[in-house]
Amino acid sequence: MSDLRVHKTKYINETKRVSFKYDGKNYFGYEGDTLASALLANGVHLIGRSFKYHRPRGIMSCGSEEPNAICQISAKNDLTEPNVRATELEIYDGLEAFSQNCWPNVKFDIGGINNLISPLIPAGFYYKTFMWPKSFWKKVYEPLIRMSAGLGKSPTEPDPDIYDHKYVHYDVLVIGGGLSGIISAKIAAKSNLKTLLVDDKKTLGGSTIYQSNDSFKIDDQHSSKWLEKEINEISKIENLTVKTRTSIAAYHGYNYLLARENLTDHLSIKDKKDKIRQRLWKIRAKKVIVATGAIERPLVFNNNDRPGILLSNSINKYLDYYGVTCGKNIVLFTNNDSAYETAISLYKKGIKNLIVDLRKNSQSEIAKQAQNLGIKIYFNHVVTNTFGYRRINSVELMELSDDGNTTIGNKIKLNCDCLGISGGWTPTVHMHTQSGGKLDFKNDDQVFIPKEIDNDQISVGACNGDFDLETIIDKTVNKINIFLEINNQDYKNTKVDCSIEKEKRNIWLLPNKIPLGKTKCFIDFQNDSTAKDIKLALKEGFRSIEHVKRYTTTGMATDQGKLSNMHALGIIADTAGVKMGTLGTTTFRPPFTPLTFGTIVGRNVGKFFEVVRKTSIHDWHVDNKAKFENVGQWKRPWYYPKNGETKHDAVQRESKAARDSAGILDASTLGKIDIQGTDASEFLNRVYTNAWSKLSIGKCRYGLMLNEDGMVYDDGVTTRLAENHYLMTTTTGGAANVLGKLEDYLQTEWPELDVYLTSVTDHYSTASVCGPNSKKIINKIFPELDLSDENFPHMSFKNTKLDNINCRVMRISFTGELSYEINIESKYGKSLWEKCISAGQEFNITPYGTETMHLLRAEKGFIIVGQDTDGTMTPSDLQMDWIVSKKKYDFIGKRSLYRSDTIREDRKQLVGLLTDDPKEILEEGAQIVLDTNTKPIDMLGHVTSSYFSPNLNKSIALAVVRSGKNMKGQKLTIPMENKNINVTVSDTIFLDKENKRLNA
């Protein structure tokens, strides 16, 4: 045991030594230690350097409010983690921690030079300089600024750890396992409410659990002893779940909260392995009880930031909870009674200490206790300066004037190795405000407390501004009874004795003989913003707290201003001469403490990033070496390279085979919507541009669907299966949206229509066999089917069976070839496909992917919605006026086709393009111009689809071109980066204009 570990406590297991490294040096602590308590036990205070001035900084607190003691954990590129608070990290065997923001090391840091030039770099200095000469910005100034960015380092390898999510519902959620939280949880759970109690620490009990002062007793025992019994009791309540090491990250509306549970961060390196590191709890609670306590405030005076300066209560916790003293000669500087508890605790462990108190006196019981013990107290005094570079070695005091505005008398210099400071307590109202709650200012304690908002949440205990034991217990019990509409009497006879603070004196910025401009009175310790920075911002006209915060960066460090916001507000109020409560506060933004990205994401990365939709034929495609294309969530075969073919070669081969003999495409991904009802035909009339009433049963028709603004939205073939029954196909990517849109119209605009829509995309697999030999192949598979043109013409379908399994064979074509699409119940898809392949073997049936499909349809001038259209094309723009019914009174988008802009003749219109050099393949997306010499160059349109057609042995392209309809034969130019390509406008149909191949 080091001589700083001054006594045994039940929270430190001295039988379990834990070794760790800090900045390369070996240390040890015990199970139960945080990195901070273990380092303090080893006499290490200096932990890091501040952001701007690179000032040496030490451990300041014992919790999540810590601004200074933040470290880099682990030297491994994949496991390293920046900005970890030493005050929260439990040590484990093998832990390696490093100081940050210093070079070459924390003791001697080159960046410390910034402290010397600090007069030149006040708040916002960068807005005022680095502007001349202009050329220096990019080459000199900016690199310099960016070099000084950041504290720790990001990992550089992927994270090997796993994270998890959990969804839970509770009647009551209690946030915070201190005195008021434990009482609340107990009352709730004993009233048969399913209750969850969370606390970010390893053990419950908050700050009461190590309180052992005779001035604070409950039922005649030390409050810590009493609370231990309560904790023991609640552990037995069945409908109460207690989660420690779990901190609420965000409180959203409707009592939706996120909590992070730490599962392995405290385990030894070998025990962490293969376990879930952190779990994000997504909690819905009917009622939320916030019992998050309070955070001790620092005091703002010159050089209040040296290593060895801690919050007074933290010194108490390190002593009474961890058994570690932060020094051997301690000065406590306070404006309230809580530091007296620390003083008495130190005294009882034999640690020399004295108190400097801003107040003129204190009549409370605990102050008397301190005086009776002979602890020296300087009332009405103020610390005006501190000394010591890497660790404080002395303080300077002066007496305060009556009004507190100046110092008087002589300087008193006292040696010390540690200074505890306490400026009172700030209720942790973050949860309340995150949930949308507002705050009230309570003048006597100079604190903001929650304004009650609704009946679904409540704040109790110190976070509600109740600080003494008696009030906490009384008010908590009363409020919870009302809040939960119960009548719990468990605490009716609880007897509380406690010292009550009587005198209060708060001074946000302590007076000093030295002019403020020559001092460094830190407010935001990590970001190095000082009282004079705040004053400078005010002088320059920044009046809103948000402006001051942003100009000075106060409250924007990794501790999110837990220690600094109140002082910033206080100094603004004092300077502006307004009341504290009138200024408002800055917004407390989630998360409460920084939350690991991995935890937020959980398992939804890598293979779980997004679902993969595969057709039932997928495995065959994989076995046959298909390259895949992502289309929406679907994996579609793109092309099937053989023997090391390039994509181009494969596509040429596939395209040729499809036209010369037979090809087969997996078309299962196309959206399929089953439409039934007596008004089905009328419904189709309203959603498609063309007419549907006269389509006979057994026939198919191509349809074009518009947005209400007249632009092409989707297309596909719809088949009339029966009098009141249709099957609509949509594009692969558009399926879900089309269904959504149709449902919307049906339910909200046309509820009178008797129509029912069902998505059946996943119900059927579709094999599309095309090519001159397709009829022979289909005939082999379905010998009983009459495939004659008379009985089975183009755009019709037949129901049939394949080995007793129902099939639907449709004679439709997207390639211009004779073509059959076979629909079969999805699970038989692969078997159907294999039958087609084997039946087609003698015809060299060639599987082709989306790329070949695109090429084949382009030869025929068929559009692809989304490729040849971009949400700005009308049917007329696509030269598809034939599909727009003139007779129908209305359909979706019709009215928009007659607006002044949509009837313009010189809109961009779909055309074909032929390159002058037939070998030259245009780049899709390339722009088209008439004259390359105009300035600015006038772009007429762009290439939407472009391929080399093996069947025509030349390059073909579709494009949209301004006034293109009337441009056939027009020479145009495609200006590429390094050359101009000459093209001629052509018809959009390049092959088989007469559609002979459909019936070949």
Partner: protein, 91 residues
């Protein structure tokens, strides 16, 4: 993350729903008789209210039904829900 009380399924997480914007914008029965201005009014112009708004929601990952919601857009508090075709609540 609000909870929406689907009139068909009960209270569900906001995640399950999609918003359809302002409610009670009826598609004109005779669009061809409208001026461009009147058509644009239907097509694009929105009240975009800050405060209590009547709006359409779809239980898209549930029963797929559309219904109406009365919500205060300034704080996302939902006041009531009602089915398509039902009269909106007075307040």
């Amino acid at each position: 993350m609000f909870l929406i009380n689907c009139p068909f399924c009960g209270e569900r997480d906001q995640n399950e729903f999609s918003s359809g914007g302002e409610a009670h914008i009826v598609r004109p029965k005779q669009p061809t008789e409208l001026s461009d201005d009147q058509w644009a009014e239907f097509l694009f112009m929105r009240k975009n209210i800050k405060g209590v708004q009547f709006e359409r929601w779809n239980h898209s990952h549930g029963c797929r039904k559309w219904f109406n919601v009365v919500r205060d857009t300034s704080n996302d508090k939902i006041h009531s829900v009602y089915k398509m075709g039902e009269k909106p609540p007075v307040k």
